[in-house]
């Protein structure tokens, strides 16, 4: 089960739409052992491709240093698919390197770069990928603590 607040959900979807037709990618960091995705960190897709994403290696180091300094881990690792379903590809599975992360896939194949989220469903699904096994999980949207 992925519990994520509405603001973070919207931010991920907005990022996917903004970068369409390239894949968007990033993490949501949270306190180690909390399983709470709290800090949204969109990343540059160094591949800038509609079918591939990769964090730039310098960005990756800075991100992990920063999370280390803050006692955080990547609770969510997200990316978008721009022409296929929101399901991990074989490439996604082979490169999944964070065994405790929730892998979020957003598909912009239907809605592309449309803005406006009211009544506008996108495919947003979450998975665990451990030792090459994909397990889908429910996504529960929770109210942000900062919002009423």
């Amino acid at each position: 089960m992925l519990r994520i607040d509405r603001g973070t959900y919207d931010a991920i979807v907005a990022h996917a739409r903004r970068d369409h037709p390239d894949e968007a990618c990033g993490v949501v960091a949270g306190p180690e052992d909390s399983d709470r995705p709290e800090r949204f960190v969109p990343m540059l897709n160094a591949a800038r491709s509609p079918t591939f994403y990769e964090f730039d290696s310098g960005d990756l180091l800075r991100l992990y240093r920063e999370m280390d300094d803050r006692d955080e881990v990547p609770v969510v690792v997200y990316h978008s698919h721009t022409a296929t379903e929101a399901y991990p590809s074989r490439t996604d599975v082979s490169y999944a390197s964070e065994p405790f992360a929730h892998y979020v896939l957003v598909s912009t194949r239907e809605h592309g770069a449309q803005t406006g989220l009211v009544d506008d469903e996108v495919e947003f699904r979450s998975f665990r990928i451990v030792d090459g096994q994909v397990t889908e999980e429910d996504v529960e949207l929770v109210a942000s603590e900062s919002q009423p």
Partner: protein, 91 residues
Amino acid sequence: MAIEVRIPTILRTHTGGNKTVSGSGDTLGALVDDIDGQHPGIKGRLVTDEGKLHRFVNVYVNDEDVRFTGSLDTAVKDGDSVTILPAVAGG
């Protein structure tokens, strides 16, 4: 001689859960061999059969990506710090 190597979560099965290990060597390749001697199996996760660093493993010596410093031939010395981070990538 001690060089600290930071180990990512996914490789900690080889290091008994340790986030950092210590090793020695004059080059990154020698260091990897040394670490593999202490923690068998870790080299296979980092280096291909052709003896090159895996494309989707990032290694940094003192914060420099070793792709730019000679890869496994990168010189290392006592007091250096090495960080291993699998690429975050997919399709």
